[in-house]
Structure formats: C-alpha cells, structure tokens
Amino acid sequence: MTATTAAPAKQPPEPDPEAKAMGKKGLSARARSERKLGWMLCAPAVFVMLLVTAYPIGYAFWLSLQRYDLRFPDDHKFVGFKNYGAVLGNSLWWQDLTNTLVITFFSVIVELVLGFALAFVMHRVIFGRSIVRSSILVPYGIITVVAAFTWRFAFDPTTGFVNGLLGTDRSWFTEQWSSYFVIIFTEVWKTTPFMSLLLLAGFTLVPQDVVDAARVDGATTPQRLRTIIIPLMKPAILVAVLFRTLDAFRIFDTVYVQTRGAQNTETVSIIGYQTLISRLNLGLGSAVSVLIFGCVLIIAFLFVKGFGTSLAQQRGETP
C-alpha cells in the first residue's frame, strides 16, 4: 500500500507531454496501478464467485441444450435450443409467468406503501424506539416456510381463526382470487419489514435542515413529503423496490406450501422445481431455470437503466 501511494508523490511534477498522454488515455500511472491493485485485491473474491456462481450458471446453460432425463441415462444428446422452444411454445410457461408477475406487482406495491409508513414511524418514534423497531422486524425474522404454514392454518376453514374474525365461512384456497389474496398477504406480512428497513436508511439521507428550511418557508406536511423527502429518498426507494421485485419474482415457498400451484397460482419457480426435481428432466428444467435467470436480468436491467441516473446522482457523479 505505502509503495503505491508514495511512488507517484516522489516524482517531480512532469511537464506536459506525459500529462497530455495520460489525459487521452484517461488514466494516470497512479490510477493504473491503483486499478491493478484493486483487481488483485478482489481476485480471490472474483475467483470464488466464478466458482460458486458462474460455473453452476454455465453448467445449467449447457444442460439446457441437452436432452437429458435422469430416468433415461442412456438417452442423452445435444439438442440445441429445442428445450427453449418447448418451454416458450407452451402456454403453461406464459400463464405461470403472468401469475408470477401478478404476485410480484401487487406484493411490491403494497409493501412499498406499508413499508414507507412503517419506516416513517421508525424514523420519527421518540419513545421506545428500539422496541418499536425490533417489533416491526419480527415477521422478517421468521422463516418463509414457517410463515407460509402459519397463514395457511390461519386461513384454513377448520383450524383457522380468520373466518371467525371476519364472520365469514370461506374456503380460502379453493378459489383463485382468494388464493392470490392469501399468498400476497403472506408475502406482504413477511417482507414489509425488509422494505421498511431499506426505506429507513433512505429517511436518514434526508438532511433535517432542508426539511426545517421548507417548514420555515411555509410548506405543509404533504408538500414537504412530496417535494423534499421523497425526491431526496428516491435512490433508497429504488434500491428497495429493485431488491424486493427480484425477490418476489422468484417466489417459491409461500405458493408451494399454501396451494402447491393449484387454483392457477403456479409461479415460474414452481414449474422449474417440478420439471427438475419431480420429473427429473434436467434438460427441460435447466431451460426453465435459465429463462427465470434471464427474466431476473431483464428486471434488474430495466431498473438500473431506468433509474441509473438517480443512483449516480446520489453518489454526486453528475450535476
């Protein structure tokens, strides 16, 4: 460390030619060597990442190009993109993709609104701050499968309390809309705390003196929220929404536990599980997994592309 930082400092300020060259290349010798050091420092992590993520992803892609069923080990051959054709040409994939997007959209929207409110409470609370904050976080600490079972039993007409509470006599998992309702409700209950935690970080980004100045200028509370707080929090909101969207898109446990995909609530992860683990069709199942990965990449790309400027703004890179 000392060597790299000290070396350029010792050199006398060089005349123009080299500085111009550096300007053209955009990198000084110091920046270059810092970059090299940076690469060396992350090399171990990059290597481990390649080993544990790039290799399985590459292998899954390779498998997705084969006809490969564990039950027929001898019937194993390269089929190109045929598996992708079979998945994309099947109405079930599109149906499940729609189901997944419906669950993702509604759960993220509700979580955003509730999470914002909870973050606001956590931010402003004066008495019993730690109790409020930790009690809000409890659902997030519960394992998803456990939460899914809890709500399944709660909504069950024979053992559950929900019908008694609402004065209804409904069988929640026998109709499509009510199945969706319970699944989204469980998701919201479980992950709103995560959302509010990320948004709480956003609240701390808002300098109190700006808010105070707005108040002095006579801005009302809704005005302050709309014109000062939310714009300043935008980067945090976007990060929170991105994280939750990616997570919600891969939803598996809640649906698997509560409906097993019945009542047309099946998601893309469930179809991947069924093809890979139950049907042991590695080729077709890998194609499903690679397509899910592709969807996740597209979502991430849209978010970063659409909101990239505001992230850069936060780091002060653009005016």
């Binding site: 027929f72 998945v87 099947n90 024979t158 026998t174 683990i277 139950s278 042991l280 069709n281």
Partner: protein, 444 residues
C-alpha cells in the same frame, strides 16, 4: 508492532484449523454411511421412519436369523412419499453404492427399474416373496415381466359409513350422491368426504373410477394412452357430480386424506372414502361416532360390477449399485416374511400382502390400544379384514410406466378442480396431456 495481534494470531489460526477439521470430520462421517463392522456386511435399508418401530423390529428379527451373515441397518427417509423419492433419486442418480435395500412406494417400480436404480430379484427369492401374495401387489412390483421388488405391505381405500345414518351402504357413486341428497333433505348428517386436492390422491380416485367403469389409463404395455371414450366419460361425470353435490364440503378442492378424517370425527358426514387409518383414529378421538362406524367396498360405477380400487402400499427393492446385492435380496426376502408382516400389521397398522394372513387369528383378533378421554382402551384392529381382502384381490395398479410421475401430474392438473370438469371436452384434454407426458417433452 504491539504484541497483541501477534500473540492472538496463533490462537485464531488454531481455532480456524479446529473448525475446519470439525467440518471435514462431519462431512466424512456423513459420507461414510455403512462401514462393515467386524467383517459382517452392513445392509443399509432406506425407508421412511415408521413411527411404531415395526420396521426396526423386522430388521432385528432378520439380523438374528441371519446369524452374522449380514446386518440390516435402517436409514430414515422423510414420511412424505414425494420427499422420499426426491432424496432416493438424487442418491441413485449419482450411483450411491451405500443403498442396499429401498422401501419403495408401489408407483415407483417402473421408473426405478428402467433407470437401473433397482436390481431384479433373483429367481430363488422371487419365488419366495411372491408365494401366496395378493396378485395385484405382485403386479406393482413387476416391470416388463420381471420382479423388481418384494411386496411388503398393502392398502386401499374403503367406503366408511354410519349405521345410525344409513342402513345399507351405497354400492355405486350415483347411489351415494342421491342418498346424501335425501339425508340432507331429512336434516341428517349428509356430508360425503373424499380427496379432491391436486395431488396423488386425485390420481387414485380417477384410476379407481376409470377401472371400475372398465377403462384403463394406458395400454397393456404402458407405452400409449388408452382412455376409451365411454368409461372415461363416465368416470369424469361421477367426479364432477360428486364435487358439485351440496353434500360435498366447500373445501373439497383442497381436501386430502387427513382433512377427511378430521371432518368425519366431527360427525357431520354420512360417507367417506378413505384408508384404514381412520378406524383407530376415530376410536380414540370420537368414540360415539366410531361405535356407529361401518365399512364397505369402495363404491362402484355400475351396480352389477364390483368396484376396482387402486392399490397402495410399499415394496422392498435391492439398490442398483449395492455392493452386497445377493445378501440384500436375501435380507429383503426375510423382511417381507409373514412373521414380519404380522408385526407390521399389529404394531404399525400396515396391512399384509400375504392373502392367507387376512384370515389368520393373529390379525383378525388383533387389538389396538386407543386413548379415550385419558383412559386406555382396546378395540379390534382389523374388523374390516374380509372387506379389504376382497377389495385388494381385485385391486388395480396405477399406470406402470417410467413416466409415472409425469402421467400423474398430467392427470391431476387436467382434472383439478374437479367441480369444473366438462366430461365432453376433458376426455380429449386428458388424452393429450397424458400423451405429452409419455413423450417426456414439454412442460406439464
């Protein structure tokens, strides 16, 4: 440099080495599995954790009889059959040689045999383990005319009804549905309980109805879809009519065996198709209802033709990569012996596969202890032995194909929810779904 970090370092490193060592040791122990102790080969028996301990009793009895030739060690699998299969398949696909004996659901035989995950049972043992056994049970263990497993226990659904509600049990589904309507009008318990969730239970129901109507899911060698128009339509009509009856619970579309049992014990129901585990349960939880509880053959489609019900139960197979295949086959033949079947029945409530045992006093006179209001009480364990024996003798086997899992998925997906079945259109939909499943291509 201050001494602090330097002095701490070795300790830290020591801890890291210790932790790494621990992980490695745990990993090795996990992989090790069956070491042969003192020259006696250990046979690992992968089977679900039977709660009464009947399986471990059988293993001890056979170990004693083997007198040092081999030692069977039970390795527990989950209780859910799908999860058992998932764990087994993962190991078998990786050619795990530590799997010597496998407790297999009767529907796995074709898949495991085709993939080479189980070995055919040698002639000598095959003769022994099929002697006097119920023919349908032997059929479940047979694939392409070879015996791949030994029948271990059996089961089938019966019709349960109440003597205080109906005198004569309905012989057909049609009779049952109209009887329930009459009971409903008279203000008596009228509910009909079955299995309507999108899972294996729906496949059992459909197969039983279809075969009772004279149809088959697949052709004789299991390579093509059969589903003759007439019987399939009849089966689908019954499923729809039953599901739409006001006497079927609202949550039928999510009901499994245990949901039926719970509802039955509440006393609202007149009829229930379910397995025999409901009998000891009702005697413990709802003695008043159990006192009125009667059993009959699973309802048929036509009054003149006796029903054919899909057989369940477990077989024992020999692992395809076992290092002790011959010994494992010997051990299997011991484990499925009549004495062990009696223990399975009297201790674990598992029905035998040897036909004569259904008339054996040890079984017909056997009792089971139930707890009623905190007091222990003994009731007859198998009062229904003759009914279930007759049923099992005529039972049918679910489709025997390596693609069973896909076919079952196709059936339960196409027919669920059963309220929405359209018998005219769904015969074709079902044929198409099963044809796709048999091709092993496309999503299901």
């Amino acid at each position: 440099m201050p001494t602090g970090p330097a002095a701490r370092r070795p300790r830290w490193r020591g801890a890291a080495v210790a932790v790494t060592g621990l992980f490695l040791a745990a990993g090795l122990a996990a992989c090790g599995g069956g070491g042969d102790e003192g020259g006696v080969p250990t046979l690992n028996w992968y089977v679900y954790n039977e709660p009464s301990g009947a399986f471990t009793d059988a293993a001890s009895a056979c170990n004693e009889a083997a007198d040092g030739k081999y030692r069977i060690k039970a390795v527990n699998l989950p209780n859910n059959a799908d999860e058992q299969r998932e764990q087994l398949v993962r190991r078998l696909a990786a050619k795990d040689s530590s799997i010597d004996i496998i407790g297999m659901d009767v529907i796995w035989t074709a898949e495991f045999a085709e993939a080479g995950w189980i070995k055919p049972i040698p002639k000598a043992e095959a003769d022994q383990v099929t002697k006097g056994r119920l023919a349908p049970a032997v059929k479940t263990a047979t694939y392409k005319d070879r015996l791949y497993a030994a029948p271990f226990n059996s089961n089938a659904e019966m019709l349960w009804y109440r003597a205080d509600v109906t005198k004569e049990p309905p012989a057909t589904w049609g009779e049952m549905i109209s009887e329930a309507a009459k009971l409903r009008a008279a203000g008596k318990p009228d509910m009909m309980l079955g299995q309507g969730q999108r899972y294996e239970g729906l496949v059992v129901w459909f197969t039983s109805l279809l075969e009772s109507a004279g149809g088959h899911v697949l052709n004789a060698d299991g390579t093509k879809v059969s589903l003759a128009e007439g019987p399939t339509k009849k089966a689908l009509q019954i499923m729809r009519d039953f599901s739409r009856s006001p006497s079927t619970p609202d949550n039928f579309a999510t009901a499994r065996e245990d949901d039926g049992r719970l509802e039955w014990e509440k006393g609202t129901a007149a009829f229930m198709t379910n397995y025999s585990f409901v009998w000891p349960s009702a005697n413990g939880n709802a003695p008043a209802i159990a006192a009125q509880m009667r059993w009959a053959r699973f309802p048929g489609v036509d009054a003149d033709t006796p029903s054919k019900v899909a057989i369940g139960g477990f077989n024992l197979g020999v692992g395809g990569f076992s290092k002790h295949a011959d010994l494992a086959a010997e051990a299997v033949s011991c484990l499925v012996g009549d004495d062990n079947q009696i223990v399975n029945a009297t201790k674990g409530g598992l029905l035998p596969v040897t036909e004569s045992l259904y008339d054996d006093k040890e079984l017909t006179e056997a009792t089971v202890e139930v707890t009623v209001d905190g007091k222990k009480k003994k009731v007859k364990a198998f009062p229904y032995a003759d009914v279930i024996k007759a049923e099992l003798k005529d039972a049918v086997v679910r489709p025997q194909t390596p693609y069973y899992n896909d076919v079952a998925l196709a059936i339960s997906r196409t027919l669920h929810p059963t309220r929405g079945i359209d018998p005219d259109k769904d015969v074709e939909r079902l044929r198409k779904a099963i044809t796709d499943a048999l091709n092993g291509e496309g999503l299901l």
